[in-house]
């Protein structure tokens, strides 16, 4: 019946010749939406420029962030102005150190603080929230009660406490930021896990005999990713804000390392003497970073959370 005829072969060829239409994944959709968001894309570009500046800027620096320019420190107001010729592109700070090198170092600190703080929140908060939400019951009640207690304490005060008690260094700073940033994340993840847990595909996985660990890793976590990424991206600028606030008070990382908050504080302390550049350069970088990051976070939310538009 199915004799080999040329006609049938042609027909078969024609039928199977169409490449199957690629399904559009949720991620693909989200990426498209994000790429179409002009404000967010512009911010990605600007932030990219700042990152490039932080990475390659030191190559152009003629002074380190610790050296003091003895020949010019006598009269900062007159000799310390931003000047291309003598290598102090951003001028000098109050002690005669090169502001260009210091701004680069401070921007790097702030960016790192934001990323690491958010990353810690992401890992800790997700793990905690998934466990509480997935296993539920008394474990969940206890774990969430603990989070509620910690959330009731002003976070900035906790960070200051930890820094004072454990000493001021990069490591303690990251630990302190991580210690406060995961709390809200864990609540969001828990709530999301609770709704996911009752869905049919989890039921199906259970019925099929998939182990609990595998359900969490293969089915819960991927579905949490969107929410988690959105919240973490909004957390980055918040971490930078918190760190800058503490640095502004002089309780952040110790010299010669510095952060944007500290530089702004120094600039604000000396602006009465007419050395405005000491305030404006760090302020410019700070405001740019914060605004671009919030726009990117908003863009990610619009892209990944289709119901909220």
């Amino acid at each position: 019946m199915f004799g080999k005829s040329d006609k049938a072969a042609d027909l078969a060829g024609e039928v199977t010749d169409h490449t199957a239409i690629q399904g559009r994944s949720l991620w693909r959709d989200a990426l498209d939406r994000f790429l179409r968001n002009k404000a967010a894309m512009a911010c990605v570009f600007v932030l990219g420029l700042i990152v490039v500046f932080v990475v390659f800027g030191p190559l152009l620096a003629q002074w380190s962030n610790e050296e003091i320019d003895w020949s010019r420190m006598g009269d900062i107001v007159r000799d310390g102005r931003p000047n291309i010729e003598n290598g102090h592109y951003f001028g000098l700070d109050e002690l005669g150190r090169d502001l260009y090198a210091r701004v680069i170092q401070a921007t790097r600190t702030s960016l790192l603080v934001g990323l690491i703080g958010a990353a810690m929140a992401l890992i800790l908060g997700t793990a905690y929230g998934v466990i509480a939400g997935f296993y539920g019951g008394r474990l969940d009640a206890g774990m969430m009660r603990f989070v509620d207690i910690l959330l009731a304490i002003p976070t900035t005060l906790i960070i200051i406490l930890i820094l004072v008690v454990a000493g001021r260094s990069f490591i303690t700073l990251f630990i302190a930021l991580g210690a406060v940033s995961w709390l809200t994340m864990s609540r969001i993840v828990r709530a999301q896990t609770l709704t996911l847990k009752t869905r049919e595909f989890i039921e199906a996985a259970r019925a099929g005999g998939v182990s609990e660990g595998a359900i969490i890793v293969r089915h819960i976590l991927p579905n949490l990713l969107g929410v988690v990424i959105v919240y973490a991206s909004l957390l980055v600028p918040e971490m930078i804000l918190a760190e800058s606030f503490i640095s502004f008070l002089g309780l952040g990382i110790a010299e010669p390392n510095t952060s944007l908050g500290r530089l702004i504080a120094e600039g604000a302390g000396t602006m009465a003497y007419g050395t405005l550049w000491q305030l404006l350069f760090p302020l410019f970088f700070y405001v740019t970073i914060i605004i671009t990051m919030f726009f990117i976070g908003d863009g990610l939310r619009d892209a990944l959370d289709p119901k909220d538009r």
Binding site: D148, I149, A152, I153, P154, T155, T156, L157, I160, L161, I162, V164, V165, A166, G167, P237, L241, S244, F245, F248, L249, G250, L251, G261, I264, A265, G267, A268, M271, A272, L276, L279, L283, Y286, V287, I290, I291, F294, F295
Partner: protein, 307 residues
């Protein structure tokens, strides 16, 4: 409602206890102390000083004395730095100042933020809407410690209108800049929140019904749209209060207003753990209290809420 309040009040107790105990142990784990100085004290003298402050007692005894002191006499103990002042004196001196400008900032941020948000939502896509939206965006990059220098630069150094710091018994000239610095960023956030909430409410079915039955726009907005609009704003007031509290740390330092924040930073830098502990606990307790108040307000405002 009453049972709900009692339940929430009782629920706050373990939180407070946890805060006290955790802060207490953190302080005592810290290496060094207020009496470690460059000039080495003879061991006998150090032992005497420690006995004076009860630091020679076992830790659990110290904790017990500390907690009972707070609970029974509202006494936070002596300062480790100032011989003639205890923590209560420091709090009594600084707290009224912080409370004054803190409350003012809270009120200013809420009132102006909410009015701006509502005006923006009612006149959607008008200049006031664009203003509220841009303020909301810019506000995120203008926290207190950025606003402070900008304000002083403008109003003190360039225009010479306002004094650059000090308190002077809370005269209005001295209050303006701290209040603006503290309230701007949250004013923007509240305006944004109110605007989006109001827009959502105005698009909902019950508002359409109210309009359809011929109610004037004014009473549609005030009688029907207001309550649901304010719900998310109310739940945001707790964080605003915390922000104002911690912001006071900045204001006191930068504007030399002499409030509690100044003592906090000074004690953090000089390791005066007694003051640090006292202020942390006070701020923590206030935060818990305000969270409780906002929850109650929320329960009162939200018809769907069950206690």
């Amino acid at each position: 409602m009453f049972a709900y309040i009692v339940k929430r009040l009782l629920g706050a107790i373990p939180t407070l206890l946890f805060l006290v105990v955790a802060a207490f142990f953190m302080m005592h784990m810290a290496p060094g102390g207020p009496f470690t100085s460059e000039r080495k004290l003879p061991p006998e003298v150090l032992a005497n000083i420690e006995a004076q402050y009860g630091l020679d007692q076992p830790l659990w005894k110290q904790l017990w004395d500390y907690v009972t002191g707070i609970v029974l006499h509202f006494d936070f103990g002596p300062s480790f730095r100032y011989k003639d002042r205890d923590v209560n004196d420091i709090i009594a001196q600084g707290f009224p100042i912080s409370l004054t400008y803190g409350t003012l900032s809270f009120i200013v941020a809420t009132l102006i933020g909410v009015s701006l948000g509502i005006a923006a939502a009612i006149r959607h896509n008008s200049w006031i809407d664009y203003f509220a939206v841009s303020l909301g965006i810019v506000a995120q990059a203008l926290p207190n410690f950025i606003m402070g220098p900008i304000l002083i630069l403008t109003f003190t150094l360039w225009l010479g209108w306002l004094p650059g710091g000090g308190w002077n018994g809370g005269q209005w000239q001295y209050l303006i800049m701290p209040v603006i610095a503290l309230s701007t960023s949250y004013m923007g956030n509240i305006a944004r929140l109110t605007r989006s909430s109001m827009l959502e409410v105005l698009n909902s079915n019950f508002i359409r019904t109210a309009r359809a039955k011929g109610l004037p726009a004014r009473s549609v907005i005030w009688r029907h749209a207001m309550k649901p609009t304010l719900l998310p704003v109310i739940s945001y007031l707790g964080p605003v209060f915390v922000y104002v509290l911690t912001g006071s740390v900045f204001v006191d330092l930068y504007f030399s207003t002499g409030g509690l924040g100044q003592s906090y930073v000074n004690s953090a830098l000089t390791r005066d753990y007694a003051v640090l502990l006292g202020v942390t606990i006070l701020y923590g307790a206030l935060t818990i209290f305000v969270n409780l108040l906002t929850d109650l307000a929320y329960a009162w405002f939200d018809p769907k809420m069950r206690y």
